[in-house]
Symmetry: C2
Subunit: 717 residues, 2 copies
């Protein structure tokens, strides 16, 4: 990286918040804590409310029911060799749940913010259970190390021991931060574990890494919490060791766990997507704390290449089902999208760290896309079932899982209450729990708004001379349903100018955004950052008008899998066609749209009114073939037992249909079937809202009528 690349780092921290999920000591922007930013309504507040009132309970009940919490009790009682249940990384789900409880609890018990008091009690109980299983030397893992179990660290490739520590440490840090900085039971457990790690994996110890990165970011955060440099040093060791082949080769290759190339040398994110993104996040943390510009630039470069070539329209990452990995450049099949929920959570973590380090709005752009289209998509409206995989095209109606069903296949494509590998529910929970912290930051000169939601923001600014000037902002918006964002200054130093910065999202390119200053000045603002600098008075309002309207989107022609299709995006929200909105049991594959007509806003749907913000529909012109494709349903590999038996539309006619199409390839000069099209308005719904209205098929990328095919006579009916 060239010296003039410009990630100038400064001591930006003035008034430490106690409740920070990520607390770098240096960087362009200073994060605001969960005690400084409160979501007060709208899209995210609703989802955080569901998180606090349903999802956390759900995860606590299921980790108990699956026996994963019991593993800790069994370990404390000396019977875990016999009684242990779940996969080798099951411990980590308890830790991620603890972390989620800590952040959710930190935001209090007010309406729409979760159930802080109950959460604190639950967290304390879990912490006690975990602590009892820790061994005297700090080792803690219920799957390894006892007589009758595999020896400690005998399977670094697949054993996930350091990965589990990582989540333990993040939970311990969260507990301390949520308690205003005083260490809780989990914090103490985390410290003892970290000391054990440093003693065991330091120089001269086991000079290897874990098959699943995660420990890196956790150790840096513990160093930030405690001021203990040795944790940072150990994290840096882990980052530097990776890519030197200390892990055994496997069927997936060493790229799977990023052990193929040193982090500094890699040019693109690759291998297992969650692993790649956690590693990158940890590398940013190390780079920021050690002032390692080369390392930071390497991660930025990898992020750029992954975003340019290996990311779905939704922000989802990782296209391979086989190894949950990034594919080759531009291999982004919608119907086999993996786009794991956890990769979405990890991507948000990486983007957030890069935003803090660099101040560049492009990182908030990707975070926004990922939050609205991956994180918001995974949980069901009721918060008790989750997509593990976030496909962009579902070809057969499945049957819904019963509320007590475990999905045997993580990849079934249906929201399920729980999975044998149940990483996603707790990852959604901890992401939503800390979400308010992602909305805004501060620096010496003012406050930056990155994500838009109804919120109160209160912090203090140095304004260049080290004093603490209290400022407070009130944000009101119906975003993303509406593009107007009003920022009212509630508190401001009386005589000193400061700056409110607002991200103008990259998705506004090609349309005009407007900024109205407190004095009524109205000016067009380009994608990037819009700033208002002045002496503010309480009651001053800044108004940002973003051009939220539905628009057609097309893909780079090298994304072969979506050639000849278009998608609709409205603001940051990706839309989809869902079969429940088609009449007569038709399937989404019967749709062809006419992209020469602009998509239009449609009515709000009742089904999504609960969220208050997500019910906007879009209407596009096109036609729907009258013939049901006659899908052979119910016998697809994704269908799994444990699902409630449901209707299998199309099955009756499948055999006949098959006989009409003995071979799906034809000479080009064979006349195409006539469109047999009913001109139609086709209703699209937000992608994050799909599959909440019963079994359905769905597609994001819609086949576009070719200009050489006659358009249906009238498509406004």
């Amino acid at each position: 990286m060239k010296e003039n690349k410009g990630y100038k780092q400064s001591e930006a921290r003035t008034v430490p918040s106690t409740v920070l999920p990520v607390a770098p000591t240096r960087g362009r922007l200073r994060p605001l804590g969960l005690d400084e930013v409160t979501t007060t309504g709208g899209f995210w507040a609703h989802r955080r409310h569901i998180n606090g009132t349903a999802t956390l309970d759900h995860c606590r009940d299921w980790t108990e029911r699956a026996g994963w919490t019991g593993n800790f009790r069994a370990a404390a009682e000396g019977r875990v060799q016999r009684d242990r249940r779940g996969r080798e990384f099951a411990d980590s789900e308890i830790y991620k749940l603890c972390e989620a409880m800590a952040w959710q609890g930190a935001t209090g018990t007010g309406a729409g913010t979760g159930t802080g008091a109950a959460t604190d009690t639950d967290l304390a109980a879990l912490a006690e259970t975990v602590a009892a299983a820790q061994e005297p030397d700090g080792y803690l893992n219920t799957a390894f190390g006892r007589p009758g179990q595999q020896p400690r660290y005998s399977d670094l490739e697949w054993g996930h021991e350091l990965y589990c520590y990582g989540h333990l440490i993040q939970a311990g840090v969260a507990q301390a931060r949520a308690r205003g900085g005083s260490e809780g039971e989990l914090t103490k457990v985390a410290r003892r574990a970290a000391d054990h790690i440093c003693a065991t994996f330091g120089q001269g110890g086991i000079e290897r890494v874990c098959g699943h990165p995660q420990i890196e970011a956790a150790l840096v955060e513990l160093a930030r919490l405690t001021g203990e440099e040795r944790y940072l040093h150990q994290a840096a060791l882990f980052v530097d060791r990776r890519g030197h082949g200390t892990l055994a080769d496997s069927e997936f290759g060493r790229a799977y766990y990023q052990d193929d190339l040193p982090v500094r040398d890699a040019t693109v994110l690759r291998g297992h997507a969650v692993r790649a993104l956690y590693l990158a996040a940890g590398a940013v943390d190390v780079a920021v704390e050690t002032g390692d510009q080369e390392l930071l630039a390497a991660v930025v470069r990898q992020w750029e290449a992954a975003v340019a070539r290996r990311t779905y329209l939704t922000g989802g990452m990782g296209s391979h089902h086989r190894d949950e990995s990034f594919g080759d450049d531009f291999v982004l099949p919608p119907d086999r999208a993996y786009s794991e929920t956890c990769a979405g959570a990890a991507s948000v973590q990486l983007s957030w760290r890069l935003l803090l380090a660099t101040g560049e709005p492009r990182f908030a752009d990707l975070a926004e896309r990922t939050l609205f289209n991956v994180i918001a998509t995974s949980p069901a409206d009721h918060g008790r079932a989750f997509f593990y995989v976030n496909t962009l095209h579902r070809r057969h109606r499945g049957t819904e899982y019963a509320p007590d069903a475990v999905s045997p296949g993580a990849q079934s494509g249906l929201r399920a209450p729980w999975f044998p590998v149940s990483c996603c529910p707790t990852n959604v929970a901890r992401t939503l729990a800390q979400l308010p912290a992602h909305l805004a930051t501060a620096d010496d000169h003012g406050v930056q708004l990155h994500q838009y939601a109804d919120a109160r923001i209160a912090t203090s600014l140095t304004l260049g001379h080290g004093a603490a000037h209290a400022v407070a902002l009130r944000v009101r918006t119906d975003y993303p349903a509406d593009g107007n964002v009003v920022v009212r200054v509630d508190r401001s130093p009386a005589d000193r100018p400061w700056t409110v910065s607002l991200r103008v999202p990259a998705w506004t390119a090609g349309a005009t955004s407007w900024l109205v200053e407190p004095d009524g000045t109205r000016r067009a603002v380009a994608p990037g950052t819009a700033k208002v600098s002045r002496v503010f008075r309480p009651g001053d309002e800044i108004r940002l008008e973003l051009p939220v309207r539905p628009r057609w989107v097309r893909a780079d022609p090298r994304v072969d899998a979506v050639r000849g299709t278009v998608a609709v995006q409205r603001g940051p929200v990706v839309y989809c066609a869902e079969s429940v909105d088609l009449s007569g049991g038709l399937d989404v594959d019967a749709i062809e749209v006419d992209p020469s007509a602009e998509p239009q806003d449609g009515p709000h749907t009742a089904g999504n009114a609960a969220g208050g913000m997500t019910g906007n529909t879009v209407v596009v012109a096109g036609h729907v073939t009258g013939q049901t494709p006659g899908r052979v349903s119910g016998q697809t590999p994704g269908e799994a037992p444990g699902q409630v038996s449901g209707p299998a539309p199309g099955q009756a006619s499948a055999y006949d249909a098959v006989h009409d199409e003995p071979w799906p390839y034809r000479p080009l000069d064979t006349p195409a079937a006539p469109p047999a099209a009913d001109p139609a308005e086709i209703v699209l719904v937000p992608y994050h809202s799909w599959a909440n209205r019963g079994p359905s098929t769905m597609r994001v990328w819609l086949p576009a009528a070719r200009p050489d095919r006659p358009a249906p006579p009238d498509s406004t009916g």
Copy 2:
């Protein structure tokens, strides 16, 4: 199935051939043995020569080197618990190799037909090694049952014990048939194993099935060889038991091993493709021998649905990398095609059985497509490296494997000498070894030609009254390079009419095929079967003229992954663009073709001249963008160690390219990049010939210029 569906079965056998890979006692057509059909030159004779002179040795050396043959010696010496190497199904590779040796050896030592004498010696040595490991009660598996190993049949889901027996029995049958019917060492081992299976898995025994079907077809064939009804009965039990959930559920669901639905009830092939196809083949065998029309109809129905909706243009089956399974209907991504070589071999086996049972040419149509585009594609020209996965689009140049390298990932997309799961090389070997038997059949009234190759055919016919009338045919053709097939009658009863039937392939639809009878009569013949019935005289010639010329092919619009593209097929051979034929290091993704111009025959290439038949190129009009896409090479998950390091084109410019394309999705109204096109003739080569000229990128489905984009000014340069 309706009674009038018409699979009339008759006792068609008149003169038993001794050398039959599949020998049904009933059915519409009687197979001809390897002593009745001899390939004498051209496409398949060349490949069988490579098989006999390189591939068999290669497989023998690698099974020895990998330790898999040694497992049998270790078992005989009581040390296999300690010394066993390879996966749980490694025994089966020795058996498949034995089977291949038997069939290849049966065709003699003549030029172009393999090395019979050496093969016999090798086979005898392997048989002795295998026999020594069999236990007194007939049990034989090197991975189970001894102290220190898992107990026998303790893991029917994944242990592959019955699967291994299946291949053992097929090898035993092959050895006997190749020896003119006298049982060899392997035949005796197979009989003892089969008796053990009947005793163990019969009624009242372990009433379950194997996770990998294969035993079914093998037991039927052993019953056919020996006349022992109990083997057939056991096979029927295995077929009927499947689909009742006797296997445990797994991450992939019970459909993975077809244990989700009874064979009779299933409407489409599903789950693991090789498993599904082997099971279907075994079910056909049971149905034919037991006269079970319902079961036969069920398999035909499944075949129809799979061919209509779940098959690649190449005939390849199975699109999922994750579980090697069929996907949902129409999920056929070219760049993530799995299309496992073994699924191709299994599909040929299924088609062959259905052809014999029904006489319908559609089964030979699919077999032809699969033989030319999957079976012929897997082995390298030199016969010592193999595709495991037969992708239809390779996006990055890889690096070739060293001759001594094991591919750690079966799915790397490059031909490799060997794999940890090395099922494909021996499956190619046994398919090519028995290939002449697939060319022709007989019935009471004549001879049917199904696949075209230079060949001699000699058999005898009953001609309706039970006598044996000797007939002989000589087939001369350059097929598939050329569409002319000349069938000369060399021997015929002097006074009795009989019939020569010729398959007119389905790919000829839309063009005219001609048949010239011995008297010079010339008539157009439609896809299906063309017949010439008469009193033949030696020297009479029948001439079939098939319209072999390159043609554009398009896919059903529901095959979303290839929307907006076209492919070229020439006769039964699918073509592809390969980057080694583009100038200036350009990538195949820079190609756009103009389908309004017909593809033309191009020159023969020197590189493929060795095969004598495969060097035809096709030239299409289009344009190639001058800009290298700047692929980020060398850091893709598929890249595996053990590959010889090679050039990584495009890497130098990757970073710059990325910066030009920060996000691959754009509003539709953003102007498209100008085509920047050089009008060009684009050379296509047979798909089966690709990747024999060094690292390359490749694609079968070629983006078609849209009519709304101006065509390049001149594309004839």
